[in-house]
Symmetry: C2
Subunit: 383 residues, 2 copies
């Protein structure tokens, strides 16, 4: 029998034997897209399609769909077919099994044998499972796994959590002049990363941050490429092992470049890890403030002092010796320590640069390696 496509009709009488660890890993991956609270009952299930040469597992919600393609010597296919099984029960079962799984469909029920354990499921009708509307062909491009991880980790944290403005819950990707600019902002802070691409693609896409978080979990540790297809309504990430399909968020995105202030007054270069540890510690006290207020000032023109106070609790002060202070050697500015900490953590180099543009102006956090990455956080007005 020949594989014609992943959405073709298959017989109901499927049967296969598979390694327990192999199917468990694949089930956990597709489960990333399955919500047990989904209002559409069949979306609480995982679709299992058995072809001559592979098994495809599919899990999805109303925004994203994950497919895993299982092949190789650890799978032995006896009869093609398809079914949909309740995800939570299926994953719970496979976790507790100890031996190879022998899966067989018997008049609508799915029987899973593993060692001395025999479990019978009620399958759901695979014909009811939603199909992808992939009639709309997207533009294609390729990114390495490494770059893809980088741009998501360096921007995604700044996206909005609450969906008062839905477009801000996404990451904004702009493909133009062979540069991909990725940005995210929740309107209190912004993170941006630019990378060179080998594609003449010219479009923008607002990708749900939740879909990108799932992608991060799916991406393997090994080096490799990810094929990306984008249309006006969806984005598809594809490797030989998996596919992640996500709808895009409609709406116009803020003009990112206009957020970056001009006219630096002070520039401080310092050790990233020292600042990260200090902010993490300050947060024990600063989290008693709505905006996690931490104050940064320059003492005697040469030492950085971070401080935070919560009247009912106490106060914390830490001095940090910077590598260099350029420009005005006086500074007294308050910022959100959580926002600053996330910005600092997104930088991978040992050193970072903080740029200040005056009281009540945003602060820019950059790597000193000049890799086209920056974060911007609002200062907190204390008067």
């Amino acid at each position: 029998m020949e594989t014609k496509g992943i959405d073709r009709e298959l017989e109901d009488e499927m049967e296969f034997i598979i390694d327990r660890n192999l199917i468990l890993a694949a089930l956990l991956d597709v489960s990333l897209a399955v919500s047990t609270k989904d209002t559409i009952p069949i979306l609480k299930g995982i679709k299992m399609e058995v072809f001559d040469d592979k098994i495809i597992l599919t899990g999805g919600n109303q925004v994203s769909i994950i497919k895993k393609i299982i092949k190789g010597p650890a799978v032995s296919i006896i009869q093609t077919g398809s079914t949909v099984l309740e995800a939570r029960f299926l994953v719970g079962l496979v976790r507790k099994l100890e031996n190879d799984l022998h899966v067989k469909s018997i008049s609508g029920s799915i029987v899973v044998r593993s060692g001395e354990v025999e479990t019978t499921f009620h399958g759901m009708d695979p014909a009811e499972y939603p199909k992808l509307h992939d009639s709309e062909a997207g533009s294609e491009m390729v990114l390495t796994i490494e770059k893809l991880k980088e741009i998501i980790l360096q921007t995604g944290f700044a996206a909005a959590i609450n969906d008062a403005r839905p477009v801000l819950t996404g990451c904004h990707w702009r493909f133009k002049n062979r540069i991909l600019t990725c940005a995210a902002t929740d309107s209190q802070r912004m993170a941006m990363r630019k990378i060179d691409i080998e594609s003449d693609l010219n479009r923008v896409a607002n990708i749900p941050t939740a879909s990108l978080s799932k992608l991060l979990k799916l991406l393997p540790k090994q080096a490799g490429n990810v094929n990306i297809q984008i249309s006006d309504s969806f984005i598809l990430f594809k490797t030989p092992d998996f596919e992640l399909y996500s709808l895009l968020i409609t709406g116009s995105y803020p003009q990112i470049d206009r957020l970056i202030p001009t006219g630096i007054s002070t520039e401080i270069t310092l050790n990233r890890k020292t600042l990260e540890n200090a902010l993490d510690r300050m947060n024990i006290i600063s989290n008693h403030h709505k905006h996690h207020d931490v104050r940064l000032s320059i003492c005697n023109g040469e030492v950085i002092e971070l401080s935070t106070i919560a009247y009912e609790l106490g106060k914390m002060v830490q001095k940090i010796m910077p590598n260099e202070i350029q420009g005005k050697k006086e500074l007294d500015i308050t910022f959100d320590s959580i926002f600053m900490l996330e910005a600092v953590k997104s930088i991978q180099d040992a050193q970072l640069k903080l740029s200040f543009y005056g009281e009540n102006k945003p602060i820019v956090v950059e790597s000193t390696a000049g890799n086209d990455q920056l974060s911007l956080i609002s200062s907190v007005r204390t008067k």
Copy 2:
């Protein structure tokens, strides 16, 4: 200056230097007894008493109190004194510090210096911290750490969670004829363990299971002895490192011995781990029933069959070959798989014995090693 006792008045001007890991471990231990929701504000704090030769940390709630005694070369005491500091903030801070702590009381505030970090706390008045009413002298006895862990682990799981009958939330310890009988029951199941003791103590005590759980966490991995003092109202567990004081639960406890049925009809000996894994797996389906129904039957007079079914989900069947079946070779009984699993897990030997006394009668789970340990679980009526 001489140490006169842990509750004497100390000056307010304390000062000491201590290893960060040492104080963190002690703070985490005393925190076991601190509830951040306690209605008495000072009980949200940890009392810190600095003597010439040791530091005592105390944390408590309205039922139990934990004291840790810190001594040795990793502490350097400069000035004795005492204070009470908010537990959550103090523990949160010490977790994030990286160097030795230099703690000093300055006019009511406590200043903690660690490397470049200086934190100032508002101390609470140590005179307000509740004192132990230890005027009532208790009877004393000694148990090894190993035995103490065993008896708690083998019985505590069967105590009631909800406090409809407060006495059932405790573990019942009966000292009589140089035997300590420990029991717990939530009225659906019971667990019991007897050990020989070298004491002529003759009394009963209903110890809050929550206090025994804290004790388990405090007990070190190394061998050693625990000194136990019991009175009518409290129990005190004491080692050179810590003290755990707990009020007892008043009320009369059910007559444990009368719960054990007589007239065994069938006795099955089987591998403990095989049964444990099977029950754990069955629970994926049985937890859809209020009583986690799992049915056990004997097939062809020689094989055990476990099965469970949830109509909306599916069913699971597993056959287990027992080592031996004695008595009647027919059996069909339903029980709570969670209760059975916890009873099975409490047994440390490779083999266990299940004793059946007839339909709708309790089932007794015992080690085959005959170590005076048993669990009893009610059968579930299915008709």
